[in-house]
């Protein structure tokens, strides 16, 4: 029994956590309290397991664990390296908070089919963790598909025609992506006979026998495969999917799903193609241009939004491309920025979403124009919102500042000053669309004197009216606090250490 706790089996344990949790959730579907405690227990134990691997990885290097053979030269295997741990830590940590939040949200709105909801949620986390820990493209693909399929019922949770439409659109995009992914993997396997991630790429040997064009085309096949990263012009599933319950949008569309996409892109860029090959094929520049295009356009889209969740969706698209840009620059600093931004952006964006969700549950408001003076009714929520928004713009003292700082240094390091301009402009545009929200919330008077729960109208706080609301307020406060902590102490949860270690492995130094 004790050897199961050995380091080699930790990845398996981590994977088993959500599997067991989802099973127990299904079994105890009729007793909500027990069901939700399984969720919480599963998430906490997952987080602890992931965290326990970090010091070991930092000291001894990656943990390898191979379960069974899928194909010749391809195992169903986990390889816990520094980069994967960043993503794993982020998603497992946020699962705890979002689970808490979900309890408040789902009970607050008396949603239907809650067992299905928690079940799919756990499976989605399984997908995310699996993606983070997988050792080769095929394993990653398996979890990628699990993630796609398990989130589909979540997106369409509302079961209204619009929600089902959104779900279909979601599936249509992401499963098409899956097909591209499969094609890409097959071609790689055919060319080099392996799909294991390696810090300097695995595709280099193929350069001799294959034309450059094929490899360049293959890269774009992979880009299409990672449609989850919502780069433009294949982003439109993301705003549509915002119809999902807010905790779903929060975790899945700010953390698990979209981050799985950028995670995959970074894996492809650095661990499949490798820096040299990217330079050789001029793919870094192409990817950078794509990302820049998305950054700018998504920001303009965001400015025009009146619905808070949709605004956040476009902000997500923008920030994801910031991460992609970091990867595309192929310089150590930028790569660091991309990696840490996966974590930092996760915390900040989830804060924003949780705030939006709390507003929906407590006041029933979804449009920005309705939110006049809401800052006085819900001070904690809106403070958290403001903190995260500041972070999005990249201003200190919030985590976004650190990653933006590294990104700017990275552009200089790579000698691509144009991209520095892109980053700065995007920061500016971030301010343009986040500031009005904050202004509306804090500095305008309540316009419509009505509340969804029919309570007393007034300027007093309504956040803690029901104990249930605390399930929502506390998590978002925690994530907001973390967003600040990450700026002041970037080594919390070893995120920065891990990123530095990963970059050292990739580039051999800063």
């Amino acid at each position: 029994m004790t050897e199961l706790l050995a380091m080699d089996y930790r990845p398996v344990l981590a994977i088993m956590c959500p599997i067991i949790a989802s099973f127990l959730i299904l079994v105890s579907g009729r007793r909500p309290n027990i069901r939700e405690s399984w969720t919480i227990i599963g998430s906490i134990s997952l987080f602890l397991i992931v965290l326990s691997m970090t010091p070991f990885v930092l000291k001894e290097g990656p943990i390898k664990c191979s379960l069974f053979k899928l194909f010749p030269n391809i195992d169903f295997a986990f390889n816990v390296d520094a980069f994967g741990l960043i993503f794993a830590t982020t998603s497992s940590c946020l699962w705890i908070l979002v689970s808490l939040f979900s309890i408040g949200y789902m009970r607050g709105l008396e949603e239907h089919a809650q067992t299905r909801y928690y079940f799919c949620f756990a499976l989605a986390i399984l997908g995310a963790i699996g993606i983070a820990l997988s050792a080769n493209l095929v394993t990653l693909y398996i979890f990628y598909e699990i993630l796609t399929i398990s989130t589909y019922p979540l997106v369409a949770h509302d079961e209204s025609p619009e929600a089902i439409y959104a779900g279909h659109k979601y599936l249509a995009y992401l499963l098409t992506a899956g097909v591209f992914f499969l094609l890409g993997i097959l071609v790689i396997y055919f060319l080099v006979g392996t799909t294991d991630f390696a810090p300097n790429g695995i595709l280099k040997p193929a350069l001799g026998s294959t034309s450059r064009l094929v490899l360049q085309a293959l890269f774009f096949v992979f880009m299409l495969a990672f449609m989850k990263a919502a780069w433009m012009p294949v982003h439109s599933w993301l705003p549509t999917a915002m119809i999902a319950p807010t905790p779903v949008s929060a975790l899945l569309h700010a953390v698990a799903v979209v981050k799985a996409g950028v995670f995959g892109i970074i894996r492809t860029v650095y661990y499949v193609y490798g820096t040299d090959l990217m330079h050789e094929l001029n793919l870094g520049l192409a990817l950078g241009l794509l990302a820049s295009f998305t950054i700018i356009v998504a920001n303009f889209y965001a400015i025009g939004q009146v619905n808070l969740k949709r605004l956040l969706a476009y902000s997500t698209i923008n920030q994801l491309s910031v991460i992609i840009l970091g990867a595309a620059l192929l310089s150590p600093m930028a790569a660091t920025s991309a990696m840490i931004h996966i974590a930092y952006h996760g915390f900040m964006k989830i804060t924003l979403f949780l705030c939006a969700g709390a507003i929906i549950v407590i006041t029933g408001k979804t449009e920005i124009s309705q939110m006049r003076g809401i800052g006085r009714q819900m001070p904690i929520t809106m403070t958290a919102f403001s903190i995260a928004a500041i972070g999005m713009c990249g201003a200190p003292p919030v985590a976004g500042f650190i990653s933006k700082w590294y990104l700017c240094l990275g552009t200089l390091q790579a000698g691509q000053v144009i991209f520095l301009g892109v980053v700065l402009i995007s920061a500016l545009l971030d301010v343009v669309y986040f500031f009005p929200v904050i202004k509306t919330a804090f500095f305008e008077k309540l316009a419509v004197p009505a509340l969804a729960n029919g309570g007393e109208v007034g300027e007093k706080t309504i956040e803690a009216e029901r104990p249930l609301y605390l399930f929502m307020i506390i998590p978002l406060a925690i994530t907001a606090i973390f967003s600040i902590i990450f700026c002041l102490f970037p080594h919390t949860f070893h995120i920065l250490d891990l990123a530095e270690m990963a970059v050292r492995n990739l580039f051999g130094g800063m």
Binding site: P72, F76, A113, R116, I149, P153, E159, S160, L175, Y189
Partner: protein, 501 residues
């Protein structure tokens, strides 16, 4: 025990054959006993096929001389890696379906139980016989047993079944006669009916027109039997109208056995270089496979009947396998052979679900699936496994065979086939998620019903255990085959790939 092991190839066929005769006798005396007897008979068949496969893995190909006559003169059963595995799959699925059939037969054919089980066992006998035999004419005899039993079983289905079955009779007879014509043409040139013997003799005649014509008739005849597009026209009607237990037996097995015969003839009776290098028949087959995939997928999309949709999926799946044969390289053939096994389980799984839903709701339209996730969670779970396997989501087995087929397609640089396969994956997604939506999203419907204060429509509940257990076993098998695919491929299928590819 020694005796059983040494005679296991014959036992595979003889057990269901004799028990078919006995079932009738028992049925006349006591109807109730037919079902357990059929279950026992097929369990023994599974046992002997597993024993046979085990012997093959240990000692290699088994040649079993019936009546003690040496091969070219007597009839020989040959069990090698290729058909050993397929035998096990057929026997297992036959057993599962017979277990499953208890309730559906009671409901759909109450007054004809003994005859049903007799024919059912004969059908399994025929299918096993086709696979196990090493003699061209003996294959024809078993093909006819299987076909005749199939015609009858289909004709007792719901309204319109006789008509569908009649079409099948006409098409099937043409197919079987073409096959026999091929046998006759080979016979007149070589004087032999034994497959192994023919393999030795035929290379001398590879340039003969007679052999070429024989080859064409073989391929066309078998293509009819396995419903390769555009000769599939009999399939959708026949399998849609057939009783649940029958479509669950025939749909997975009959067509796949056809694919097996195709592989046997193309690569064992003829050596691979004949169809590949001399006739270029495989190039043509690759395109037929491609079109079958696209056609099957598109037609499936336009169906509202679940069983009919599955039928077109089968047409597409046949395209996978024929296309895989058409790629004519070891990777794709490996995928095709593996897909035979996988598709048997996948199709069995889905048709079982169709049968369960039919049993509980009385219909097999997609709309009959409304709310199954709530009301029949176990059925829904089985359905999900089958659906994901057809779509090709890892770690279900469908993914792994598709992988090899795609890899083979890439190696052959046959991009049309690769694209068709990938596109069909997407079409399958659309197909199954249509059903899943129906099953999953009942909130609005229930809401409406509550308001109208009508009695709730969604009152059906979970199926009896005799239907669920086979479903679960098949669903688990789908996962296990996927997870242990390397063991199966390494120890059996890779050795089954015909030499010379």
């Amino acid at each position: 025990m020694e005796k059983i092991i040494s005679n296991s190839p014959a036992l595979i066929v003889v057990i269901p054959l004799i028990s078919a005769f006995l079932t009738l006798g028992i049925g006349v005396l006591k109807k109730k006993f037919c079902y357990p007897f059929a279950v026992i008979a097929l369990s023994l068949s599974v046992f002997s096929s597993v024993v046979t496969l085990n012997t093959i893995i240990k000692t290699g190909t088994i040649h079993y001389h019936l009546g003690g006559w040496d091969p070219p003169w007597g009839i020989e059963y040959v069990v090698d890696y290729l058909n050993g595995l397929i035998l096990v799959a057929i026997a297992i699925i036959g057993l599962m379906i017979v277990i499953f059939s208890k309730e559906t037969v009671k409901m759909e054919l109450p007054e004809r139980i003994p005859f049903f089980y007799t024919i059912f066992l004969l059908e399994v006998t025929g299918l096993l016989g086709i696979v196990v035999t090493g003699d061209m004419f003996n294959l024809y005899v078993f093909l006819e047993i299987a076909s005749l039993a199939g015609y009858a079983l289909i004709a007792i289905g719901e309204d319109g079944a006789p008509l569908a079955s009649f079409r099948y009779v006409i098409m099937g007879t043409i197919g079987a006669c073409f096959y026999l014509l091929g046998v006759g043409y080979l016979y007149i040139m070589t004087g032999s009916l034994n497959m192994a013997d023919l393999t030795q003799i035929l290379p001398n005649f590879y340039h003969s027109k007679v052999i070429m014509v024989a080859f064409v008739f073989f391929v066309v005849g078998v293509a009819i039997k396995m419903a390769l597009f555009p000769l599939h026209t009999w399939l959708p009607d026949a399998y849609t109208r057939a009783p649940s237990a029958v479509s669950a037996l025939l749909a997975p097995l009959m067509t796949k056995v056809g694919v097996y015969v195709m592989i046997r003839i193309l690569f064992t009776v003829f050596r691979p270089e004949f169809p590949i290098k001399m006739l270029h028949a495989t190039d043509i087959m690759a395109w037929f496979g491609t079109f079958a995939i696209l056609f099957g997928g598109i037609m499936a999309l336009s169906q509202t009947d679940f069983k009919r949709m599955l039928c077109y999926i089968i047409v597409a799946e046949i395209g996978y396998m024929v296309g895989g044969i058409g790629m004519a390289n070891a990777l794709a053939i490996k995928g095709a052979i593996f897909h035979i096994i996988n598709d048997m389980f996948m199709a069995a799984c889905l048709f079982l679900v169709a049968g369960i839903v039919m049993h509980e709701t009385g219909g097999h339209d997609i709309s009959d699936f409304t709310g199954i996730f709530r009301k029949m969670p176990f059925t829904a779970a089985i359905f999900m496994v089958g659906a994901l396997a057809v779509i090709g989501v890892p770690p279900t087995c469908g993914f792994f065979s598709k992988w090899y087929l795609l890899l083979g397609g890439i190696e052959a640089k046959h991009w049309g086939f690769v694209m068709a396969l990938l596109l069909c994956t997407l079409m399958n997604v659309a197909l199954f998620f249509r059903v899943i939506d129906k099953g999953l999203y009942v909130h609005a419907l229930e809401h409406k019903l509550e308001h109208a204060s009508e009695p709730k429509e969604l009152q059906f509940h979970e199926a009896p255990l005799s239907m669920l257990i086979p479903g679960f076993i098949i669903a688990i098998a789908i996962f296990l085959i996927g997870i242990f695919n390397q063991a199966i491929l390494k120890n059996i299928i890779e050795l089954a790939i015909p030499s010379g590819l």
